[in-house]
């Protein structure tokens, strides 16, 4: 990032994009529930990163800076979507979810129909829960950030991140009730050792 900031080095920026493209695009896709839009938003995030490169402070982590930029872009997009919904003359879907718009989109690689159905259900469920919970779930569960790192990105206490995570999982459990039927792998305790 130093080379990008001080030397406007395109090669260094290309390396940075290559390193971060996947996680940022995944974050955007999961936040807005649409992979094509996620791709566009990720591009916007990198464009904004480049335009804000001079304001980047080396004392903070690049990842934190980039996650924040991407999240702000996602929030802007979600605000625009809400505004479009509010002013739209179309009939809203029965449950108010964006699933109607997304119906034609393949939810992901699973080949089997059940897998696709589950993936679509998860995608829709995530869109139904409030953004403060969704963002924590996406960053922790899918992007693998530690709770401490999420707290840093969102600028909230770590305890709040964990309680939002618990609340988000609870909300998802209720929404995904028909799909959360499988028992998790049974944890067997034996001689003080945890066998999964």
């Amino acid at each position: 990032m130093w080379r990008v900031k001080h030397e406007d080095d395109p090669e260094a920026f290309a390396e940075l994009v290559q390193r971060w493209q996947k996680p940022i695009q995944n974050l955007c896709t999961r936040m807005v529930g649409d992979s094509h839009r996620g791709e566009d938003l990720a591009q916007d995030a990198f464009t904004r990163l480049y335009s804000k490169r001079k304001s980047y402070e080396a004392k903070s982590k690049l990842s934190t800076f980039l996650w924040r930029i991407a999240l702000n872009i996602c929030y802007d997009e979600l605000r625009r979507q809400r505004r479009r919904h509010e002013f739209s003359l179309d009939e809203p879907s029965a449950d108010g979810s964006p699933s109607d718009q997304l119906e034609s989109e393949a939810p992901g690689p699973p080949d089997d129909l059940i897998g696709q159905e589950r993936a679509a259900a998860v995608r829709d469920a995530l869109q139904k829960i409030a953004e403060p919970y969704r963002v924590v779930l996406v960053l922790r569960h899918y992007e693998g950030l530690k709770f401490r790192e999420i707290a840093e990105v969102l600028e909230i206490p770590e305890g709040t991140v964990k309680s939002r995570m618990a609340e988000g999982l609870g909300q998802l459990e209720r929404i995904l009730q028909p799909f959360v039927c499988e028992k998790p792998p049974r944890r067997v305790f034996r001689n003080e050792r945890l066998i999964v």
Partner: protein
């Protein structure tokens, strides 16, 4: 029995607890059916979340460097052929080497041309994307400015409405005061008139009585 908090359970589920805390929660889960059930439900939801997998993002396509592979392949073939021909006859070796050299040269040239064309295409795509990004950014900035302007206009409009509303309220209050004053004056005058009528009527009635 102290149940672990939701926050502690989250750390436990995502393997972020310290070893001692993990041990303590594991011990608790062995004995507390409620906490175990809650933990199992969370785990099941986490597992369900894994159903939504995403494809790898599309990248700017960069072809494998063809030249080194072409050279390597041709060298392998060349060595193999050379080895075989060397075993059968040594006389044709220089001619074979020359033929191979020519073949390698033509293959390398073709591969280099292909890579050059591929790089030119990538450059063209990247330039187009950069222009597109720039346009999008300009539009985005314009939209932001428009939004700011709209919000600012709304604030001005709201403030003007508030001023008009306040003026109306003041006028209404003044009218109400005036109306009160008129009512009081009218009331006083009516009372005076009644008294005067009464005063006038008293002597008349006394005279009549006499």
């Amino acid at each position: 029995m102290k149940h672990p908090s939701r926050e502690e359970m989250m750390e436990h589920l995502y393997n972020e607890s310290s070893p001692s805390q993990r041990q303590s929660i594991d011990n608790h889960l062995r004995t507390c059916a409620d906490c175990r059930a809650q933990s199992d439900r969370w785990r099941a939801t986490m597992k369900t979340l894994d159903a939504w997998r995403l494809e790898a993002p599309r990248r700017l396509h960069r072809s494998m460097p063809a030249v080194p592979w072409a050279i390597a392949a041709l060298l392998v073939v060349g060595i193999g052929v050379g080895f075989l021909t060397g075993r059968t006859t040594a006389i044709d070796s220089p001619a074979l080497q020359a033929a191979l050299r020519q073949e390698v040269a033509s293959q390398v040239t073709a591969a280099m041309n292909q890579q050059r064309a591929s790089l030119a295409e990538e450059l063209r795509t990247a330039s187009a994307r950069a222009i597109s990004d720039e346009t999008r950014q300009v539009f985005s900035e314009f939209a932001e400015q428009l939004e700011e302007r709209r919000e600012s206009d709304a604030e001005i409009y709201y403030s003007a409405i508030q001023q008009v509303d306040a003026r109306h309220r003041q006028e209404l209050a003044r009218l109400r005061r005036d109306l009160g004053t008129v009512a009081l004056v009218a009331d006083a005058r009516i009372t005076d008139a009644q008294e005067q009528i009464s005063n006038l009527s008293n002597p008349v009635s006394e005279t009549l009585n006499k």
